[in-house]
């Protein structure tokens, strides 16, 4: 796609793209390249000498069962967050997608959590479910559950998933609303005339027509769970207890900063980059397909 009506100038266009190009090269390409180079190097503990070690950082990582566990854990978290957040959001969107009194108010009251920062989400939830002082923990204990996410890894993971899913409901809700609004009413009416009850109409008409939105949101939610949960995890559990809430991004942060293992951290970054590129690629292919429909 190109414009037919354009300006003629030799230098001006370069001047126009120069600021962005400079920032992108300095703060994006240069560090990305550094990460790739670093991932082939081994640095001693004092940073005095470095040696080129080919793929050793990678082979070491990929043969490390702990790293493998982190990958599995990250995907489990992603799917748990996506599934719980998507289903709640879909239910709410279907309920709100009716001409009814107060529709705009409902929408406003449901979308604002999008604006709450991940670390704040972490603080809110950890406070509510803190083992000794949380207002909800009392009820859990009264119900006979031994609730202590500071010690119990599974409970900590549940806590992180709940908090992360909570934040994402508003985003999914908005996109579901848009998706539902795009479904032609005539199709639903036709099904109603054929005698399909509302539940059946939902599963045989609405849900299949919504599948592009669901797929799109699934990818977005997975990317969200990969990256934006950092703030939630850092204020809630710092990856603990043990490593039960350490995701891939959190491990990059931990290994690079606290462990000082820059080579391994860089190799992890590169692996993450590849994962994100694959996810984004899937998303783009899908968006393209949607356009041709």
């Amino acid at each position: 796609m190109q414009k037919q009506a354009i300006f003629q100038s030799k230098l001006l266009p370069y001047a126009l793209v120069a600021p962005q190009l400079a920032i992108v090269l300095i703060f994006f390409y240069w560090p990305a390249l550094q990460a790739v180079i670093q991932s082939f190097l081994l640095q001693d503990a004092f940073g005095l000498s470095t040696s080129f070690i080919w793929f050793e950082n990678y082979t070491e990582l990929l043969s490390d069962p702990a790293y493998f566990e982190t990958i599995v854990r990250t995907f489990l978290f992603s799917f748990a967050i996506a599934a719980s957040s998507l289903s709640v959001a879909l239910l709410l969107a279907v309920m709100a997608d009716k001409p009814m009194r107060g529709g705009a108010i409902y929408r406003t009251l449901l979308i604002w959590p999008y604006a709450v920062a991940p670390p704040v989400v972490g603080v809110l939830w950890v406070f509510m479910l803190h083992p000794s002082l949380g207002v909800l923990s009392r009820y859990l204990r009264a119900a006979g559950i031994e609730w202590n996410p500071l010690l119990d890894g599974n409970q900590a993971a549940t806590l992180v998933i709940l908090a992360a899913a909570w934040k994402q409901i508003s985003y999914n809700f908005l996109f579901f609303l848009a998706g539902l609004a795009a479904i032609p009413k005539s199709v639903l009416e036709a099904a109603a005339i054929d005698g399909a009850r509302p539940m059946r109409r939902f599963w045989t008409v609405t849900f299949p027509l919504l599948s592009p939105t669901i797929f799109f949101l699934l990818v977005v939610n997975i990317v969200y769970a990969f990256f934006d949960t950092f703030g939630i995890i850092d204020t809630m559990t710092r990856g603990g207890p043990g490593k039960s809430t350490e995701t891939l991004v959190y491990k990059v942060y931990n290994d690079g900063l606290i462990g000082g293992n820059l080579g391994s951290s860089a190799a992890q970054s590169v692996i993450l980059m590849v994962m994100v590129i694959v996810l984004t690629g899937i998303q783009f292919r899908f968006v393209e397909r949607k356009v041709t429909y």
Binding site: I6, F28, A35, V120, L133, Y253, L257, V276
Partner: protein
């Protein structure tokens, strides 16, 4: 439809109110906690009704800070967050709109390669290149500075793509007409294209402001001085101390203050927000 009678409507209203309650509850707890006495909270005897310490807690939070962990007034943290969010939003819009203008309205060697160089940055969030970026910012002596906080987060293509897409839909006749009026590239940009882009810029601004205000990992790495902390980092530092020493009312008041600006933006500018959200995700 056929069965739009009362019962189903009631169900819808009830489900929505339950949803709203679930969504609002954690924030309600935070607001309530920020008005109570710390000793009561620390004993696990927090009430679910507002307490009487509202003014005292917020005064201390905003102007003094915690007495133990950060000792930095939250007003100062909010100022840092505000400057960073505005720099990111304005900076990104400014450099993106002119580079999109260059790419759409001019033909020049390396036009497409340059476009692709910018486009690819869409794919990688700052989290995956965090340490090398840190090193570059350190080498440029930009640690603990607003430039260091904002510049690496400006390096992304979303806004450029958005403006490019929009410029492609602007009819060619407009350019031809203003050229007949004797307008050069600057006049055309300033008098025609910029006014047309106003809504897009506003929608983008809303989204970028929220994203900027909510940044966490990057400021966490590059701010070491207390007076450069953003509010998100401040909250974490307040909780760093031993649980028993955490001043919960102040932590919760800070959380409430951290939510206030972006939530206000979403609610007050809902139309622009939704538009920006849908467009940046395309």
């Amino acid at each position: 439809m056929v069965e739009q009678e009362g019962f189903r409507r009631y169900v819808a209203h009830i489900v929505l109110w339950i949803g709203i309650a679930i969504v609002a509850f954690p924030v309600y707890v935070a607001i309530v906690a920020s008005t109570q006495d710390n000793a009561l909270i620390a004993n696990g005897q927090m009430s679910l009704l507002p307490g009487g310490h509202f003014f005292e807690v917020y005064y201390q939070t905003i102007f003094v800070g915690t007495s133990g962990s950060t000792r930095e007034p939250v007003a100062n943290m909010m100022l840092n967050s505000l400057v960073m969010a505005l720099l990111i939003a304005v900076g990104k819009i400014a450099i993106s709109i002119i580079s999109a203008y260059g790419i759409v309205y001019f033909r020049f060697p390396f036009r497409m390669p340059i476009f692709w160089i910018i486009f690819i940055t869409l794919m990688l969030p700052v989290e995956v290149r965090i340490y090398p970026t840190y090193k570059i910012v350190a080498d440029l002596h930009m640690l603990d500075s607003y430039a260091g906080l904002a510049l690496p987060l400006i390096a992304s293509a979303t806004a450029t793509l958005l403006f490019r897409q929009f410029f492609m839909t602007v009819p060619d006749e407009l350019l031809e007409a203003s050229r007949i009026d004797g307008a050069g590239p600057f006049r055309f940009f300033w008098d025609t294209l910029l006014p047309l882009s106003r809504t897009n810029m506003a929608a983008l601004f809303v989204i970028l402001f929220i994203l900027g205000w909510n940044q966490y990992l990057w400021p966490l790495l590059i701010t070491t001085r207390d007076d450069m902390q953003t509010i998100q980092i401040g909250i974490r530092k307040m909780m760093t101390t031993n649980d028993a020493l955490t001043e919960w009312p102040i932590v919760m008041a800070t959380a409430v203050l951290a939510m206030l600006p972006p939530v206000f933006v979403v609610v007050a500018m809902q139309k622009l927000f939704v538009r920006g959200l849908v467009e940046t995700e395309k």
